[in-house]
Symmetry: C2
C-alpha cells in the first residue's frame, strides 16, 4: 500500500512515527507493508516509488527543516506525477479558501485515489462536493482526526451507532479554550489563563482561531455535514468565543454548581458554538485540554466520548484508524 | 434472518420494541426482515417458524405474564427443535453457575448458530471456552451490552481502536453504586442514598450484587477476557464494595477536590473493583446512574466513553448494534 503524505509538520511526522511503530502489525494484518512513497512540506518534496524509511524522513525534516531535496511551486503537479494509493493530507488548515489541502484532496479523488485527512479547511468549506467526488470515483474518503483528534467521534457515529437515530451532537472541540476555562474555574483571570496556555504550548502566539471559537466552528460544520448529512460550511455557524467571559461569570456559575464551557452544538437545525453553563459532574464538565462530544440518539440516549483533541501521536492514531478501516475494506473487496 | 430470544424480561421486551422500530431500516439495509421465530421466558415459550409480530409478544407477556402458551422443563430441548439463525440470550445473570444462559449459549454455538448476549454469567465464568467453541464452529459471538449497556466499549476496543496497544481499562460499571455515591457527595448518608436508589428503581430489594461490587466484577472479568485476551473468571477479581464508605470519607475527599467512585480496573496484570479517589473535572468523576470507561492506549492516550449502563431501550440498542455487525459480516461473506 503506497502512501503519499502532504504536510509534514507535527501530524505528518507523527504519522511516520506511528507507521514505524506499527510496521509489523500492518504486515501481519494485510500481508503487505505500508510504504511512504512521497512526502511534501510547504516548499519541498521527496518522492521515490520504492519508498522511504518513514523515520528517515522525520530525521531529515528535523535536521534540515526540509522533507525533500526538490522544491515545488504547484503541489498538484507533484501529486500528478506520483504513483500512490492513498493520500494522507495533513497540511495546515486554511478555512478561508481551503488552501493547498483542498487542491490536493480534489486532485487525488479525481484520480481515483483514497484520501485520509485531518485538514479542517476543505471539510468545513466543500464537504458535500468532496463526498460526491469520492463517491463518483469509487474512492474511500476518511477524516476521523479532523474532529477531536484521537477522540473517535465520526467513525463511532458511522459504524458503532449506525442503527441509532442521532438527534444531536454537542461537545468541547477546542482544548485550548477548555484549558483557559478550567484555569478560570480556579480563579485565574482570562488574560492570565491565556498567557499560561501560550507558555504551555497549548495556544498559539495569535490565539484568535481558538478563543474566538473559529476552530470549534470548523468541527461543528464537519459534524453537521458528516453525521447529519447537511450541506453547510464554516460560514454558516453561529459563533461566540470565550473572550468576554469574566471572572464574575465563572464564580457566579460555580456558586450554582456549574462551570462555563465552550460548547459546539449541531443537529438537523442547530449549528452553533458558544459558552454554556454545564453542571459539575456532567460528562461535558471536564477540565483541561481534553475534547469531548455527547451524541444523543433515540435508543442509546446520551453517549459521551472524551479524548485528546490534539498531539503528535494522538492525531496520528486517528489517521492510523482510518488507514486500517480503508485497508480492511480494500481487503474485503479483493 | 431468524432470531430466537431467550429471556423475556425488560431487555428481551425492549429488543422486540427496537426490532419493531427498526423494521424498515433493517429491510432497507439487508433486503430481508429480521424475524422473531421464538421467545422464551423462565417457564414458557412461543415458537413459530413463520415468525411473530415482536410487539404482539411484548403485549402477550405484559397481559398474561407469559410469553408463550407452552411450558418447558429444558430450555435446550426447546432450542434443539427450533430453526433459527441467531440466538439472543438475555436471561437473568447467574454468576454462580452460569445458569440457563450458559446452557443455551453453549448449545447454540455447538449447533453453529450466531449468538448475541448481554448475560454476564456465562461471560464471567466460561469466556474463553465459549470463544473457542464459537471459533471452532464458525459462529459469530457478540456481547457489547454485557458491559455498560448502551456505552459502546467492547466493539470500540475491537474495531475503532484495533490499531492501538491498549494498556488498561478502568471505569464505573455499576450505575446503582454511582447514584448512591453521587447522593453521598451531596451530604446524604449511605443508608439513605441506598433507600432512595431503591425507591427510584435503580437498586433491587436485595442490593447485594450492586453495592458489594459483584456486578462490577463481572464486567471487569469480561473486559479482561475480551480486551486483554486473558482467561479469568468472576472469582479471580479482587473486590471491595461501597458499604463501608462513610460520610466523613466523602467530605474529606471533597475538601481535597475529589469524589469517591467505585472503579473497576483491568490490565494485563490488574483485575480489581474498589472505591477510588477521582479528581473533580476528571472524565471518571461523573455523577448519577451513568457508566463510564477510560481506555488507555499507547498512541491515542486516554479515551473515555460514557453512557447509560442499563435501561430497556438502551441495552436493546447494544443488541441491535451487535445484530447489525453480525448481519454486515454475513452480507460481506455472501
Amino acid at each position: 500500500m503506497k502512501v503519499f503524505i502532504c504536510g509534514f509538520g507535527t501530524v505528518g511526522q507523527g504519522f511516520c512515527e506511528v507507521l514505524a511503530m506499527r510496521r509489523q502489525f500492518m504486515l501481519d494484518r494485510y500481508g503487505e507493508p505500508v510504504t511512504v512513497v512521497g512526502a511534501m512540506d510547504s516548499k519541498t518534496y521527496a518522492y521515490d516509488p520504492d519508498g522511504f524509511d518513514p523515520l528517515e524522513l522525520v530525521k531529515r525534516k528535523q535536521d534540515t527543516r526540509k522533507v525533500g531535496d526538490q522544491t515545488y511551486e504547484d503541489s498538484v503537479a507533484v501529486l500528478e506525477k506520483a504513483d500512490y494509493d492513498i493520500l494522507v493530507e495533513v497540511s495546515p488548515t486554511d478555512v478561508r479558501t481551503g488552501g493547498a489541502g483542498l487542491l490536493n484532496i480534489t486532485h487525488a479523488l479525481e484520480k481515483g485515489k483514497d484520501v485520509i485527512t485531518v485538514n479542517k479547511g476543505p471539510l468545513a468549506l466543500k464537504f458535500q462536493e468532496l463526498i460526491a467526488l469520492a463517491r463518483k470515483n469509487g474512492c474511500k474518503f476518511r477524516f476521523e482526526g479532523s474532529v477531536g483528534g484521537a477522540m473517535p467521534i465520526i467513525n463511532l457515529c458511522h459504524e458503532n451507532l449506525v442503527g441509532e437515530n442521532i438527534t444531536s451532537v454537542r461537545g468541547i472541540f477546542n482544548g485550548t479554550c477548555n484549558y483557559i476555562l478550567s484555569k478560570m474555574d480556579k480563579g485565574q483571570p482570562f488574560e492570565q489563563a491565556l498567557k499560561e496556555a501560550q507558555q504551555m504550548g497549548y495556544a498559539e502566539t495569535d490565539p484568535t482561531n481558538d478563543i474566538m471559537g473559529y476552530d470549534s466552528a470548523c468541527k461543528v460544520a464537519i459534524l453537521a455535514n458528516s453525521v447529519f448529512g447537511r450541506n453547510v460550511t464554516f460560514n454558516d455557524v453561529r459563533i461566540t468565543g470565550i473572550t468576554s467571559i469574566t471572572e464574575d461569570a465563572v464564580s457566579l456559575a460555580a456558586s450554582r454548581g456549574m462551570v462555563i464551557r465552550l460548547i459546539g452544538e449541531v443537529s438537523e437545525t442547530k449549528l452553533e458554538v458558544g459558552p454554556r453553563l454545564i453542571p459539575k459532574g456532567h460528562p461535558l464538565s471536564i477540565s483541561g485540554t481534553l475534547n469531548t462530544a455527547q451524541i444523543l440518539s433515540d435508543l442509546a440516549g446520551p453517549i459521551t466520548v472524551t479524548g485528546r483533541g490534539a498531539g503528535r501521536l494522538e492525531t496520528a492514531s486517528a489517521i492510523l484508524s482510518d488507514l486500517i478501516s480503508i485497508m480492511d475494506e480494500r481487503k474485503r473487496q479483493r
